[in-house]
């Protein structure tokens, strides 16, 4: 029994204790008994755009033959048995994952891989596993949700910079190799990438006087667009704040310097920070955005609103156009897709998924080899052929597949994917006490958006509170 499970059970039992003591023969009340079960069953927040696709069952191509050129990691431990966890890839991609593992085992004889896919409870399972010291050797972590920095910050991931040859590092786009550094150190191999696009409901946009071509290229244009959507199309914009990492959103969208150079003070109450927040405050005051979507942690709330046909656009991954196709054929006929408007940082985003190695693995070289193998150009091209995700290495884009004309709208970004991904970079500094600081910032932002507090007052209060957490 792990401490984590004990904690969940304990919290639930403590809640129950009072109830049990009231009358031994009292039956459990039927309605509203959530507290006893919810904490252990509550699904983790899972951005819809994170999973490559849930609705597509890709054809299983002929497995690639093993190629000795893929064996780029030396001194792999013989007899190693390594655990490998992925996030939301089974059963859709079972053939691909199993074929790739088989090729890896043929490429590195003597190494065995035990693969498991975890889904809604991925983070709970992983926390449990770390606590019980049974964590897998190679872990699929989301960069965009900040999981690499979260676990690396807790000291449970293996630093890679001094364990991987420079020629192997050079395979990846430089911005992706450095996409989630902790104190300047990298802890992940960049895996499959997504493109940040806006799915467009061109029917609503046309009513508002916009087209895909005139859709704003920068976020400064969103308030005017949303006002037009409200006035002329009687609809609301579905824009979602990155509630789980608001400081990152400030950095990308507002070019806000969130932390002083010496890391001793938060600085996100600067004029840039206030201007960024004020833009959203003004949109809320104008009643041009769906407030439920704006503050939800669940990407699917906005996606579902978009798929239902009730909103003009939604920032997502191109792969999710297929969900539109499956669930709303009428909308699919009117579907457009453009690159997400750039923020003031002019950086379009950071990577999507990565593979990390646990810090105390018994087989560091074998684990590094597996993480590198799945992220190498050959494996990535095969993956990209199955679903609209994109490789993390420049050479992978030299495959003719990426030059082929896209047949469907969800593939329409393929020819420009390389140029977009090449610009990805993590420009957010390592934030101390990140989860606590984010909660402080969330409250401050909500108090400005909905509580009538001024943007400056809200952010300055949050800075003062967050500074108290820096030791």
């Amino acid at each position: 029994v792990t401490s984590r499970k004990l904690l969940a059970a304990g919290l639930a039992m403590v809640v129950l204790a009072g109830a049990c003591s009231s009358a031994a023969a009292t039956p459990s009340p039927a309605p509203s008994t959530a507290a006893t079960t919810a904490p252990t069953t509550a699904p983790a927040s899972q951005p819809a755009s994170e999973a490559p696709s849930e609705s597509v069952a890709p054809a299983s191509p002929t497995p690639l033959a093993a190629d000795p050129a893929e064996a780029v990691i030396p001194n792999v431990e013989q007899g190693a048995e390594i655990g490998f966890w992925t996030f939301y890839l089974s059963p859709t991609f079972d053939p691909y994952i199993k074929d790739t593992i088989a090729r890896f085992e043929a490429t590195y004889p003597g190494v065995k891989v035990k693969w498991e896919d975890h889904q809604a409870s991925f983070k709970d399972d992983l926390n449990n596993a770390f606590n019980a010291k049974t964590a897998p050797d190679v872990i699929n972590l989301s960069v965009s949700e900040g999981w690499v920095s979260e676990y690396a910050g807790k000291g449970v991931l293996l630093p890679l910079d001094d364990k991987v040859d420079q020629k192997v590092k050079d395979v990846y786009f430089p911005g992706l190799w450095k996409e989630q550094l902790i104190d300047g150190v990298n802890f992940q191999f960049p895996w499959y990438q997504g493109l940040n696009v806006e799915l467009l409901n061109t029917a609503i946009l046309e009513k508002a006087g916009f087209t895909a071509e005139t859709f704003p290229k920068t976020i400064d244009g969103l308030p005017a667009l949303c006002q037009a959507v409200k006035d002329k199309a009687a609809s609301l914009c579905t824009i979602r704040l990155t509630i789980s990492d608001l400081l990152a959103q400030m950095v990308y969208e507002g070019n806000v310097k969130v932390l002083s150079d010496d890391g001793k003070k938060f600085t996100f109450d600067s004029p840039e920070g206030v201007a960024w927040l004020q833009m959203y405050v003004d949109m809320v005051k104008a009643g041009t955005v769906d407030n439920t979507v704006l503050t939800t942690t669940d990407d699917r709330v906005g996606l579902n609103a978009f798929i239902a046909g009730g909103s003009p656009f939604y920032a997502s991954g191109p792969n999710l156009a297929r969900q539109v196709k499956d669930q709303n054929a009428t909308l699919y006929e009117n579907l457009g897709m453009v690159q997400t408007p750039l923020g003031k940082s002019n950086v379009s985003g950071k990577g999507l998924m990565s593979l990390s190695v646990k810090g105390d693995t018994k087989y560091p070289n074998a684990s590094i080899a597996l993480a590198q193998f799945f992220t190498n150009p050959r494996a990535m091209v095969e993956f990209a052929k199955l679903v609209p995700v994109y490789p993390s290495s420049q050479s992978a884009f030299e495959d003719p597949f990426f030059a082929s004309a896209p047949a469907a709208i969800e593939d329409s970004a393929r020819p420009i994917a390389k140029d977009i991904i090449a610009t990805y970079a993590d420009i957010v500094p390592t934030v101390p006490e990140k989860a606590k600081v984010n909660e402080i910032v969330r409250k401050a932002i909500e108090s400005a958006l909905f509580g009538g507090k001024g943007a400056q007052e809200a952010l300055s209060g949050a800075v003062a509170e967050a500074n108290g957490l820096i030791k």
């Binding site: 401490s3 304990g10 039992m13 009072g18 039927a30 959530a34 509550a42 439920t292």
Partner: protein, 292 residues
Amino acid sequence: VTTLRRRLIPYLFLAPALVLLGIFVVYPIIAVVGYSFTDFDIVTPPVPVGLDNYRALLDDDSFWLSIQHSLIYLIVTPILIVLSICLAIVVNRAMRGIHIFRALYFVPAVSGSIAIGLAWTWLFDRNGFINSVLLSWGLIDTPVQWLANPSMVLPIAMLLTIWAGVGYYSVIFLAGLQNIPEELYDAARIDGCNDIQKHRHVSLPGLRPQITFVAVISSLAALKVFDEIYVLTGKTGGILDSGVTIVFYLWKQAFVIGEAGYASAVAMALLAITLVFSIVNVRFLERGQGEA
């Protein structure tokens, strides 16, 4: 030896239950007490911090807000009692198809709370059923963002709890009503009582044990509310924490923010509150049974 064996045998029969109770109830509670004095993020080992978590609780506005919301939530208890009694009285009559009505009213009680919560989320969605009806009737010009309105989150969640609970509790009252001797109603009629007076002077006193019982379990259930908030607010607790109850706050601290040590301290505070409630309720229950 025989005496010893005779003494031990009951414990032998009790042993399986005691072992399970020890593993799944007693030890976790003790563990949570221990964690409440630590800085524990689940992934790495806990670090002792003394009373820091409890000191932080006292200064934590969100914690006090969550307690306030949980206490407000207790309003569902008297409403549930009144509505359940009314419903029980309505269905406590011999008429064709009454069993179907009784079963229908009970349906929410056997439905999953997450499923009910999702259905209600769709009802109150910007493009949902309620807005569609209001728009079609011309009562509103633009869709109302019900669940994005901080003043509406808690009332909607409470309404859901009441809707889901009234059928269940009415069954308890129905059983109570059917145990009241018909002679008492006959005597009331002879004394000149009309229908309302009959229920006031016969049904309500006769239902006192059930009322006390329902008050106990529904108030404890209200204190522990989580599912409704979790689903209706999309796991956020609502804008400006408008729907955050104490159990939701506990969950968020432990499993979203990763402050399991602090969440354990919140759990201990909740334990104290529920114990006080339980003691008060048991006193009422005992008094009610004594007088019944």
